[in-house]
């Protein structure tokens, strides 16, 4: 223990402002006591905060020295300064000089494959600052100079730590992360990431799905599917049984923007929507936004789904081959130039036609006078090549081609050996997407990452019909006619865009960018011709085609003002010009998260979105005739305002519980008007449409367990959605088709052992709404035949019965791959998809007519139609 000085002598002399001498002698005495004595003897007031001198001791010896000199001696080497203001001496803590800052940036990639780890979190232990790797795996943060430990974490992978390092100059840190020694179920990876999104992100309603999470979701025919996985999310209605429909928070299917590496895809279905266009084998992960939207995204009202495809491994070749009940797929990726260039290729194709063609050939062989042709197939091809020029620079080329092909036809010829009629008909339909994009990623400075992309995306469908018929006499064709129909429907986009990620100062991540799209629309052009031996008649139904220019700019800042708050503010501006008419829209975005404590977080958001193109679809089934249309002069851009708020609770690393609410207002949305079919197609689609508004509101509740052998989630949605159009339902508000009031999803995954895994998914929801006319009226007899007249009724006046279904899947891992056994609709509940008006074929009775005639009468009845029973399926995937 130090010995304290025991003497102090303070002599006072003449005192004048700023010039008063004092005497003081103190050795290691508490500063507060020395000041008390100085105050007493000098008459000066010393003003300071009580905590300023707490614990401070001083050693000073001065005899009749000016007070200013004494104070200088006392505070030398400390962070305390003083100011003399009249009779007051004000003490305060000297502001610390800003430490020099250095920027740490780099990429976070997966060990082995070199794939960017989007969303990896980089944390500085000294400043407790953190940042997130962007879509290129790039991160950047500016940190104070000094000693610290940097850690990089990514759910499901072994965390990376730099150990204690001294930051004194800019640092590039490229991290490769591998799997931990104790391998978790793949689904855990995604779930853990979603926990991070729930608790860390400021956005409400964000979901990330990995390829493996998608693959583990049981589906019909065992064909894993992104959209069908997302159908299990709260707030997402699935549409019609078995189809890959997606109706988010009461929106329509064309209000979702589907992107493949940030490039829009317009048609995302195969076989009428039974399968989506995304081959799971080609996918790395998916970001899905359903409530709060980053400033980068606009152009649709309801949701944004960005599918990130695999880059391919820079180190070694990998591949897989899968054969299922409906399709087979082949996937291969690896280095072209080890460490620099990689490729990834994924091909999926149905193989129905490989069976149907020989079967039909056998049938036709036995019947030479009549032949039947038929074929259906779909395929997807994903191709991607990545090249790393340097750690700062890389480029990629991506190609996607998806195609559905349907061919049917028949021919009959009874006149081969004698006189008679013959005919031959052929129908061919093609529809699908083509996407090509090339991009360059570059680290312009340690804090700015940019990506420049050029792309072309096209959706098109074409139909061809030919009917050739005639008559032969004595071996000579005496008359014939040849009818042909050619039809095209497509949309082409040329896209150029630049996106930047800037980390100017700690706590801020600024995203900004601009884009330009040249749209070309050909929304249905068909030519019909009838040619006979003496006449040719040709008619073109529609000659409309449009070009439109769309420009976008956006800026958004993800700001962490302090540990508890995170705010994301952005603005997306767009211009859409068509036929000399230009529309402009500003879409503000705002989202905030407040972390109540380590377990609780609360969020709120507001988003406005604008949409300039929409889809004309007569049904909820995806048909090749569905047309994408721009808004035309006289129409306004569709807009939606959405507010959302949520509370999140994560008691530990395993569990996340969330409750989110939303309210959405939609304006200028477009639907077919009542009795649109009385307006002939040649009058243009605009005449068949009506513009109106809609709203939706609801709650999404979800409990998710993300770690352990037993994982999964239980969710519940409470939803309302309605529409109102001046030319529909007499202008009265009506419920939307997918106004599914209650929706419950239970998705479980159980990793039984190293070899066996089991998945179960149960869905239960209020039935879809349909328009069910119940009444009839007397046939006026104006048509060519007699009909039962259907009486108009309110739109969507009937809710189908409660829908529920259980799907199961079992995966058996083998040395070289895995078997998947799945059961769709395991307890074989035939869900009602429709209601028909028909006659009861089991209830005939005799009735006597007024004229005395007895007739057999069948009772007219309403019938619920249930489809899709239990469907087992099996597939094997060989990994190499």
């Amino acid at each position: 223990m130090k010995k304290l000085a025991v003497s102090i002598c303070v002599a006072l002399a003449a005192f004048s402002a700023g010039a008063q001498n004092v005497t003081v002698d103190a050795v290691n005495r508490p500063a507060a006591k020395v000041f008390a004595e100085l105050m007493e003897h000098s008459g000066k007031n010393f003003v300071y905060s009580g905590s300023l001198l707490r614990g401070m001791r001083v050693t000073v010896k001065a005899v009749d020295r000016p007070i200013a000199e004494v104070l200088d001696m006392m505070f030398r080497g400390t962070d305390i300064r003083y100011k003399v203001r009249g009779n007051n001496v004000i003490l305060s803590r000297r502001e610390k000089p800003e430490p020099r800052r250095v920027t740490v940036n780099g990429f976070v990639r997966e060990a082995g494959s070199g794939e960017a780890l989007i969303g990896a979190i980089v944390t500085d232990s000294a400043s407790r600052a953190a940042t997130v790797a962007n879509n290129g795996g790039f991160f950047s943060m500016t940190l104070p100079e000094g000693t610290t430990v940097l850690t990089v974490s990514y759910p499901g992978l072994e965390s990376f730590s730099t150990g204690r390092i001294k930051l004194h100059s800019p640092l590039t840190l490229n991290v490769e992360m591998g799997e931990p020694s104790h391998t978790l179920a793949e689904v855990v990876v995604t779930a853990a990431k979603n926990r991070s999104l729930a608790m860390e992100s400021s956005n409400v309603g964000v979901v990330n799905l990995s390829r493996d999470a998608i693959a583990s979701t049981p589906t019909i025919f065992g064909e894993s599917d992104i959209i069908k996985s997302l159908q299990h999310e709260p707030g997402v209605s699935a549409g019609v049984e078995g189809l890959a429909g997606m109706y988010v928070h009461g929106g329509d299917s064309d209000e979702n923007l589907y992107m493949l590496d940030n490039i829009p895809l317009y048609q995302v279905n195969h076989l009428g929507g039974l399968f989506s266009a995304f081959n799971t084998e080609a996918i790395r992960n998916v970001d899905f936004y359903k409530s709060a939207f980053p400033a980068k995204y606009d152009g649709r009202l309801s949701s944004f789904m960005d599918v990130h495809t695999r880059d391919g491994s820079l180190e070694s070749h990998h591949g897989s081959f899968r054969l299922g009940l409906t399709s087979g797929s082949f996937n291969l990726d690896g280095p072209i130039w080890k460490g620099h260039t990689s490729y990834s290729i994924a091909l999926r194709r149905t193989w129905y036609d490989l069976i149907s063609i020989p079967i039909l050939a056998m049938v036709n062989h036995d019947n030479p006078d009549e032949k039947t042709r038929g074929r259906y197939s779909f395929m997807d091809l994903n191709l991607k090549v990545n090249h790393h020029f340097s750690p700062r620079s890389s480029a990629h080329v991506m190609f996607y081609y998806g195609d559905d092909y349907l061919k049917s036809g028949s021919s009959s010829d009874v006149s081969v050996n004698h006189d008679g009629w013959f005919d031959d008909s052929t129908t061919r339909l093609h529809w699908g997407n083509l996407v090509f994009s090339a991009g360059w990623k570059y680290v312009f400075s340690p804090s700015i990452f940019g990506e420049i992309t050029g792309a072309y995306t096209r959706y098109g469908s074409s139909m061809y019909y030919k009917y050739y018929s005639g008559e032969r006499r004595d071996g000579e064709i005496v008359s014939w006619s040849d009818e042909r129909i050619d039809s095209d429907n497509n949309i082409h986009d040329w896209i150029l865009r630049a996106d930047f990620d800037w980390r100017p100062v700690p706590g801020h991540t600024v995203n900004f960018g601009a884009g330009y799209t040249r749209h070309s629309f050909l929304p249905g052009r068909s030519t019909r011709s009838v040619k006979t031996d003496d006449m040719l008649v040709t008619a073109t139904d529609s000659v409309w085609s449009y070009r439109a220019d769309e420009a976008n700019v956006y800026i958004g800042d993800d700001w962490r003002p302090c540990d508890r708050w995170r705010v994301n503010i952005g603005l997306h501006g767009s211009l859409f010009s068509i036929n000399g008419s230009t529309h402009a829209a500003l879409s503000p975005r705002c989202a905030a998260r407040y972390t109540i404590n380590d377990r609780w977080a609360a969020k709120a958001s507001y988003s406005r979105t604008s949409q300039y193109v929409y889809q004309l679809a007569q049904s909820v089934i995806s048909l090749p005739t569905d047309q994408w249309m721009p808004i035309l002069p006289g129409q306004k851009p569709q807009t939606a305002d959405k507010i959302a708020a949520g509370v999140y609770y994560a008691p530990d690393e395993r569990w996340t519980i969330s409750l989110e609410g939303y309210y959405k207002w939609m304006r200028n949305i477009v639907e077919y008007r009542d009795e649109y079919y009385t307006i002939t197609p040649g009058m243009g689609w605009a005449a068949r449409m009506t513009e109106g508004r809609g709203s939706s509101r609801g709650l999404d509740f979800k409990i998710e367990k993300s770690v352990g052998k037993f994982t999964g989630h239980i969710s519940y949605s409470l939803m309302w959605a309605d529409r109102q159009f001046p030319d529909k339902n007499h202008g009265r508000r009506f419920p939307a088709r997918f106004d599914n009031r209650h929706k419950i999803n239970i998705a479980l995954n159980w990793k039984i052992s190293k070899k066996w895994e089991m998945g179960a998914a149960w869905t239960g929801m209020s039935g879809n709404r349909i328009t069910l006319p119940t009444q009839c009226w007397e046939d006026p007899g104006l048509g060519p035949w007699d009909y039962d007249m259907v009486y108009a009724t309110d739109i969507n006046n009937y809710r189908l019965p409660f829908y529920h279904r259980l799907d199961l899947s079992f995966t058996r891992h083998t040395k070289h791959g895995f078997w998947n056994f799945s059961i769709y609709n395991a307890y074989c509940h035939l869900n009602t998809i429709s209601v028909y008006r028909d006659y009861d074929s089991n209830d005939y009775q005799w009735v006597t007519l007024p004229d005395g005639t007895a007739m057999l009468y069948s009772r007219p009845v309403f019938q619920k139609v249930g489809v899709i029973p239990l469907i087992p399926s099996i597939s094997y995937t060989w990994l190499f």
Binding site: Y677, T680, T774, P780, G783, Y787, V865
Partner: protein, 336 residues
């Protein structure tokens, strides 16, 4: 594959009664034709599962009051007689008729229609492609003709016009004549001329398909529907291309009576009211079109039958015919 398809398409049909209230309303049907007295069929709507009007359901409303105005003047009340309400009024082209019905039980219904003015067929060009002749054991001669017709008309262009093409046959009455004119009570011939065909072919005329979308052309059926509007031909002269793939003409007349050679195929161009036209479009779409198929299965927007009556049930329509007869015998003679 077959197993898969069978599994998917196998449906389960269950009878049920939907919990939707339905209230019957008046249904008013009437077709106004110049030269024919006005008649109105007044019925009520019925719930599909209630029964069948032709069998066990009486939907006729007998105790209602129906009044009508013509060109703004109140003309009177229709009287109920033999299942229909009738008036002495005979419509004329250009008349604007308003029908109002009131029933204490089913409420009110009103509808209006303007009787269209006929648009004359300017001419019919006939091109006989093939003709065969055969004589039966009964000694009558049968010609089978394949011919194309161009039915020319000129749309007035001053207003929106709607048309319906049709045809019928005129055949003179057969007559019995003595084989030996000097023996009027002896054996007799039955002499006749008879033109007929099962159907004319409208497939070559694109204007009949203006209401048909592309995919409906592939999978739908337009047979029997021949309505069209003047949207693309307003004010123009236009030929409707009609084909007769197998027009038959049978003649037995040893007496060479010119009266028996007057058989004709009558080309009829109906000018129809807008409500008539819209009703036919709706009828086609619901029964043959894609929207009807999809809507009927609950997978798309609902399609119902189109009415121009205030209650949404019934059609008050009008049509005026222009007829152009094409003599068949001269065709045969000039082309055989």
């Amino acid at each position: 594959m077959i197993l898969t398809v069978v599994l998917v398409v196998t449906g389960c049909y269950t009878n049920f009664e939907p919990d939707i209230e339905s209230r019957p309303v008046l249904c008013m049907n009437s077709l106004l034709v110049p030269g024919e007295p006005l008649t109105v069929s007044l019925t009520r709507t019925w719930r599909w599962s209630e029964g069948e009007p032709d069998y066990n359901l009486d939907i006729i409303v007998r105790d209602a009051e129906i009044t009508y105005t013509v060109n703004g003047s109140q003309c009177g009340t229709l009287t109920f007689d033999n299942k229909k309400y009738r008036a002495d009024y005979i419509p004329e082209p250009g008349d604007h008729v308003v029908l109002s019905a009131h029933s204490d039980k089913y409420g009110d219904a009103t509808a209006e229609v303007t009787v269209p003015v006929a648009v004359a067929i300017d001419r019919v060009e006939t091109d006989v492609l093939d003709i065969t002749e055969s004589i039966s054991v009964d000694s009558d001669t049968l010609w089978e003709i394949k011919a194309n017709f161009k039915v020319w008309f000129t749309d007035p262009g001053d207003q929106e016009n709607f048309y319906l093409f049709g045809y019928d046959f005129y055949n003179p009455k057969g007559m019995t004549v003595p084989i030996n004119p000097d023996d009027p009570w002896g054996n007799r011939y039955y002499c006749f001329g008879l033109a007929y065909c099962s159907a004319l072919d409208y497939e070559q005329e694109p204007i009949f398909g203006e209401h048909i979308g592309v995919i409906e052309t592939l999978f739908g059926d337009s047979y029997g529907y021949s309505m069209f509007s003047d949207r693309t031909i307003s004010g123009k002269s236009y030929p409707l291309r009609i084909s007769a793939p197998r027009l038959s003409y049978k003649l037995f007349d040893p007496t060479d009576n010119p009266e028996l050679r007057t058989s004709s195929i009558n080309m009829i161009l109906y000018s129809i009211s807008k409500g008539y036209y819209r009703h036919l479009l709706g009828l086609w779409e619901r029964n043959e079109g894609m929207a009807g198929s999809i809507g009927g299965s609950g997978l798309g927007d609902a399609v119902w039958d189109v009415s121009n009556v205030s209650t949404g049930a019934g059609v008050v329509a009008a049509r005026t015919a222009a007829v152009y007869p094409v003599q068949v015998y001269p065709l045969v003679i000039s082309n055989r």
